[in-house]
Amino acid sequence: MTRTVAYRSLYALVILLIASFAVFYGMRLAPGDVADVLASHPTGQLTAERVREDLGLNKPILVQYATYMGKLLRGDLGLSLINGQPILTILESSAGYTLKLAAVAALLSLIMSIPLGLLGAWKRNSSFDQGTMLIAVLGMGIPNFFLAILLIQVFAVWLKWLPVAGYETPQHIIMPAIALAAEAMAINLRVVRSSVLEQLGLDYVRTLHAKGVSDQRILWLHVLRNALPPIVALAGVLMRTLLGYTLIVETIFRWPGLGYQLVNAVLKRDYTVAQTLAILLTAAVILFNLLADLGQQWADPRTRRQAGAG
């Protein structure tokens, strides 16, 4: 297992290097030169030349990348181009919000999808099963920005149960979490159901019945346990998309997380902030992939042992 961890971690690191360079290079390709933007800033008396010099933009791109990553690794995240605020401060104030939102959404999607999928498979083709599949189709079919607007319209504007947007009270997290979780929940539901269905047809389930074990124990212990590997694998993928969607959902609900800050930074052409946040989000996504990968290996005792031996 240690060998697997080391190997997968190394792999993740390589991916991170490639991805971060892509982000870095992509920023350079984006329309509008940073230097021009800064030089045209009304308060500044800067020339484009001067800015290029200061930011090292006249050096070869690989040198710029190396310098930037070096600083990043030493914990020097740099300053905002617009207001000179340290990016670390922005990060500290917003990362918590994103983590909270993503965690609540992930939890919500699992809490909904696992029991519904499990019971749907157990009572296959019942009206309950069909009901959950309808939820799944809706969840996958409705884009999250539309769902967000729908939620706001119904629960905030018509019923006035929940605040439209913001972050001040615990009620504020409900709608963004639902909007963010819906698609993941729907996908999870289908995967749980099909994975459980597959398990229910296997010989060992019949053995458990022959042993006189209760239905509840068979379902919630044995079948769920064996159905987990694909669910865990998918959870990693879903966390990744969830993080991606925070950009949209946080912006709609003005939830002051990383996604909101990143979108704002891009809109304000705050290149250093946008670049750093984008790279950090990428790193988070790669980290989740790594964890899901290792989690999946761990969830299956066969690969666990083989990995330990090999």
Binding site: D203, A210, K211, V213, R225, P301
Partner: protein, 342 residues
């Protein structure tokens, strides 16, 4: 008892006692729902098993022997249902029990082992936890006591280092070892009846012999009644006391092993015996029963074996033969039995 057939006599000792039968199946009918039709996989099967007796249930694939076994345990797949019949076990009709009461009997007083040891165990749990699970489902043993019992059972079934192997996972065991674990699951509660559905078919010949010897020993030691399902007549001959031959959902001949192997009366049983290979015999080719088993959906109303039968008379294609006594402890479903010529 005169035996014209060579038999390892020692295994036949200490068999059935008198008294009421342990298991009595009466006119069992099991149907499978398939698209628009209901097919009778088991059609009016009746038999008895006494304490300490091994009843062999033979027949080719699809004759309904596994469906019969699963019906007894009430473990049929969702598409199959028991349409009629009674299964008397220990003074109660199992088919009338609530699912909960049935669950308390399974694994406790009546157990089953299956054909495929490779897939019959839960891959995600240790051997030990799978055995103690049965103990906890039916008893009040402490965790430590259950574990000790599980280890003792594995040890009894010939698994070396039993106490340590409790923490192994099924994939770390060979097929023969897994079948021993399956037997441990089935026997740890000291049941009265064991239903074994092709328990050795998936195993090597040497392992087969070990497992069968084990079953024979256990029945002697524990007074276990066994329903042994197989298509292998050699296995039946080796350890069973009585045998029921099934064809197309019905029992066509039933009786003691000694009698049926020396004097088989049904043409189908005769064909099966003729198609068995013998080690010391030189034959150019094995005997084949011509034709094939009729499809469940287009079952002939008269004798089901008639189309493949060399002894067919007119009556065979007109009315359905009933199972009737041919001899002492020997029942037969045939209008025109002829002496067996090998």
């Amino acid at each position: 008892m005169a035996r014209s057939f060579p038999a390892p006599v020692s295994l036949h000792q200490g068999a059935a006692d008198a008294g009421p039968p342990l298991l009595e199946v009466r006119h069992l009918v099991t149907e499978i729902q398939s698209r628009q039709r209901r097919l009778r996989a088991v059609d009016g099967v009746s038999f008895q098993v006494r304490r300490g007796e091994i009843l062999g249930l033979v027949g080719e694939s699809g004759c309904g022997k596994s469906m019969t076994a699963l019906s007894l345990m009430r473990l049929l797949p969702p598409a199959a249902t028991i349409a009629q019949g009674e299964v008397w076990f220990d003074g109660q009709d199992l088919l009338r029990l609530s699912p909960k009461a049935m669950r308390r009997i399974r694994g406790h007083r009546m157990s089953m082992v299956f054909q495929e040891p490779m897939t019959a165990l839960d891959p995600a749990f240790t051997i030990g936890s799978q055995i103690t699970e049965v103990i906890h489902a039916h008893g009040t043993d402490s965790a430590a006591a259950a574990r000790a019992r599980a280890a003792a059972m594995l040890d009894r079934l010939g698994i070396p280092n039993a106490a340590r192997r409790l923490d192994s996972y099924p994939h770390q065991f060979s097929g023969g070892m897994r079948q021993r674990v399956m037997l441990a699951l089935a026997l740890v509660m000291n049941p009265q009846l064991l239903i074994a559905d092709e328990p050795t078919t998936a195993l090597d010949v040497t392992i087969q012999a070990q497992i069968l010897d084990l079953v024979a020993d256990l029945r002697r030691e524990l007074g276990l009644g066994v329903v042994l399902i197989t298509h292998n007549l050699g296995v039946i001959h080796e350890i069973a006391d009585r045998v029921a031959v099934m064809y197309a959902g019905e029992i066509v001949e039933i009786g003691s092993v000694a009698r049926i192997f020396s004097d088989p009366k049904h043409p189908y049983t005769q064909g099966l015996l003729r198609s068995m290979p013998y080690l010391y015999e030189r034959r150019p080719s094995l005997h084949v029963i011509a034709g094939r088993v009729p499809d469940l959906g287009i079952m002939p109303r008269a004798c089901r074996f008639a189309a493949r039968c060399a002894n067919r008379i007119d009556q065979c294609t007109e009315t359905h033969p009933e199972l009737r006594e041919a001899d002492r402890d020997h029942e037969l479903r045939c209008y025109n039995p002829t002496p067996f010529a090998r």
